[in-house]
């Protein structure tokens, strides 16, 4: 028999407590704990149990709801007066207990999950991070590393009372080599600030995302962020050359080499890239940066069908290949939301699909000619029905904002269920169409957009308000669909809190088991970003 965890209420005011007995659970999980409430309601003991049958965790419909339920609190210590005194001594003026300040750090960007941390620490140096973790490890205090708090899977905020370790004050650029283009900086540098710094020196960051004004490079690396330029410059796994990491024990691991090639032993940085703060806290990064392109052009095109969109992509690859730096798409449902909620104007005639193509090269005349030849070709063969081109900064920004602001438009449409899926290119839009048909009236809007050039779809489903029935209709259907075509249930957003239990849709149990072994080796007391990334069971 399985006793379910009952869901946490929307406003976080009460989290009914868990007693969970399960055939596959370890007895340690079946532990009763009290959860403090954010609104000062006295903690409750065991309140409710719900019985149901089935095997826990493996895609069984009845138990599936447990997949995104809140996990029970691990038996960490709680922050005591002595702990506070230690931190205040270590980080004077940077040990925050003010509930107003803590409120913003306890809630994610989408306002979909809330923790109840009562302590925020703001170290400025790697040494301080090391001392914090050494102490927390000894005291068995849980730690939630936090950068810009722009993650979309609930991985950046506490679930319970984990201490928030913010890297915001670790924002120094340590060095930049003008010849090699390698920048070394602390993990708390905001991506946009790094971009501005580099652009003044004729370089750019190898990644770019909508959240650039707030996200920090440490968080980007910890989540292996993708973004709009991946098509051209590759992922962080290729562009990050070195890291400085602090382990759960407080030990500082420095492999911050700024070398392009170094085949001496296991490449440890790959373990930490994308580990979502669960294996170590990244404190410094060295990244290889590309030169700033002399000529940037953006074309905004309209296609009448997804098939034509794919053919346009093939043509684009052939004729623009070496200067292509982005290939993004959005469907007409997205355009309608942009027009409705943000009053943006469609630059071209109405179409079923819209493509944003960016070229970046070293010679404006050459690129213009290549781009015009390509545009003539796709117009002549009727792959594209309409479009516009921009070379001026202001117009380029305007065209990009049409793609970049879809996320914002969705927030105005109601409650959004976000899915970040990798699929074989031909299948990408089929998922959107199937979901639309399958959900029918249950959903308000079903839209698709994203990095189609990378095979990455952002599927978003809106409803007027949070709707449990809708969520249960979507999940696990969408994950099963993805698994059927051997796709990834999280292309770039990571697993965090919300998707941790769906890992098996994209990874085999042996792989997950090895991940757990590595976690245990590097963080035996599980203090780093608990409840995230790895599944509760299995």
């Amino acid at each position: 028999a399985v006793l379910h965890v009952v869901d946490r209420f929307d406003d976080g005011s009460l989290c009914l407590v868990v007693l969970q007995l399960c055939l596959q659970c370890s007895p340690a999980v079946a532990m009763l704990d009290r959860v403090p409430s954010a609104l000062g309601v006295p903690p409750l003991g065991l309140v409710a149990l719900r019985l149901s049958r089935g095997i826990h965790g493996r895609g069984d419909q009845t138990n599936h709801a447990a997949g995104n339920r809140v996990p029970c609190r691990f038996p960490f210590s709680r922050v005591s007066k002595q702990d506070l005194a230690f931190f205040e001594n270590l980080l004077p003026g940077r040990t925050i207990v003010d509930p107003d300040v803590l409120m913003t750090h306890n809630v994610d960007w989408m306002k979909s999950v809330r923790g109840s941390s009562e302590l925020l620490l703001r170290p400025q140096t790697t040494e301080e991070v090391s001392k914090i973790l050494k102490y927390c490890c000894e005291r068995r205090l849980a730690v939630n590393p936090q950068g810009g708090n722009t993650g979309l899977v609930g991985g950046s905020v506490p679930v319970y009372d984990e201490i928030i370790l913010s890297t915001s004050l670790m924002n120094q650029i340590l060095s930049f080599d003008q010849v090699s283009g390698i920048i070394t900086c602390q993990a708390g540098c905001v991506l946009e600030n790094l971009s501005n710094y580099l652009e003044e020196r004729d370089f750019i960051m190898p990644l770019d995302l909508g959240a650039k004004g707030s996200c920090q490079i440490g968080g980007n690396v910890a989540t292996n962020a993708g973004g709009l330029r991946l098509l051209r410059y590759g992922s962080l796994r290729g562009t990050v050359l070195g890291l400085e990491v602090v382990l759960a024990s407080g030990k500082i691991l420095n492999f911050l080499t700024a070398l392009r090639k170094d085949n001496t032993g296991y490449d440890l940085k790959q373990l930490f890239i994308g580990s979502e703060g669960t294996l170590g806290i990244i404190t410094a990064v060295s990244i290889l940066c590309p030169r700033r392109p002399r000529a940037v052009n953006v074309a905004f095109l309209g296609c009448s069908s997804y098939k034509k969109l794919l053919e346009t992509f093939q043509c684009c690859r052939g004729m623009l290949g070496e200067i292509l730096s982005a290939f993004e798409f959005l469907d007409s449902a997205c355009m309608k939301l942009l027009e409705k909620h943000l009053k943006l104007i469609n630059p071209i005639a109405e179409n079923s699909f819209y493509i944003v193509i960016e070229t970046a090269g070293s010679n404006a005349d050459h690129d213009k000619e290549k781009l015009h030849n390509f545009l003539e070709a796709v117009m002549a063969s009727f792959l594209v029905t309409d479009g516009t081109v921009a070379t001026e900064d202001a117009k380029i920004k305007a065209l990009w904002s049409i793609r970049e602001r879809v996320t914002e438009a969705l927030t105005h449409d109601g409650y959004t269920y976000k899915y970040d899926i990798s699929l074989p290119l031909e299948k990408i839009y089929q998922l959107v169409e199937d979901m639309r048909e399958y959900l029918g009236d249950k959903a308000k809007n079903v839209v698709g957009y994203g990095h189609v050039g990378d095979g990455n779809l952002h599927l978003n489903i809106t409803s007027h308000s949070k709707d449990q029935a809708l969520q249960e209709a979507i999940e696990p259907y969408v994950y099963e669909w993805t698994a059927r075509y051997r796709g990834s249930i999280s292309a770039e957003h990571g697993l965090g809190l919300k998707k941790r239990n769906y890992i098996h849709f994209s990874k085999h149990p042996e792989a997950v088991a090895l991940m757990k072994d590595i976690k245990h080796m590097l963080d035996p007391h599980r203090i780093l970003n608990p409840y995230k990334t790895l599944p509760d069971q299995g």
């Binding site: 630059p347 003539e376 117009m379 516009t388 081109v389 070379t391 001026e392 900064d393 117009k395």
Partner: protein, 254 residues
Amino acid sequence: MSARVLVGVKRVIDYAVKIRVKPDNTGVVTDGVKHSMNPFCEIAVEEAVKLKEKKLIKEVVAVSCGPQQAQETIRTALAMGADRGIHVEVSGKDYDNLGPLQVSKILAALAKKEETSLIILGKQAIDDDCNQTGQMTAALLDWPQGTFASEVVLEGDKVKVIREIDGGLETVRLKMPAVITADLRLNTPRYATLPNIMKAKKKKIDVVKPGELGVDLTSHLEVLRVDEPPQRQAGMKVETVEELISRLKEAGRM
């Protein structure tokens, strides 16, 4: 009415670019810097094209004065819907000294040559902010002018222009031929769509020298020096009203 509209389009440094003064203080750096059509000229082109779409005028001619690159700006106007272009070739020293007086002489000469009913210009250019070319052109031609237009309505042989002025809006009725300068709220310029960009490549751009128009480009102005605006000093934060008062006294402000 077989009216022809002349639209002036100026190639300027793109408004999003950070301007840098040349080390010798003779001007700003333009080499390798992104240029584009002056935003007010875009609005002028849009208005002209709109009039053509309403079939109120027959032909839109885009004019630009400058070196070879001015043709790119004309092409943009053609992509927005202008019918043909005229590139008045001015380069080197002459281009450096090209100001509103010289341009208005050129436009006046062209207007007579091309039998124009309406000249639409941007109210000012974002590089020199002169706001003089439209007014001077009207004066040279002895034509009426409707400047800072936020609305333009053709009424037979007259044109009604609603002007943005300090006190609000002023409506004037001008007998054509006339000169209009476009202000920000006149319209929102369209994106040039691909079919039109393709068509624009085939549209004609005539190249003309100022001498052929009988225009003398001598300038009576000499730029002595160009400087960056003074750096803004950091402000000072105070904790209490008493401190504010004592600081103000120290600075001699009280």
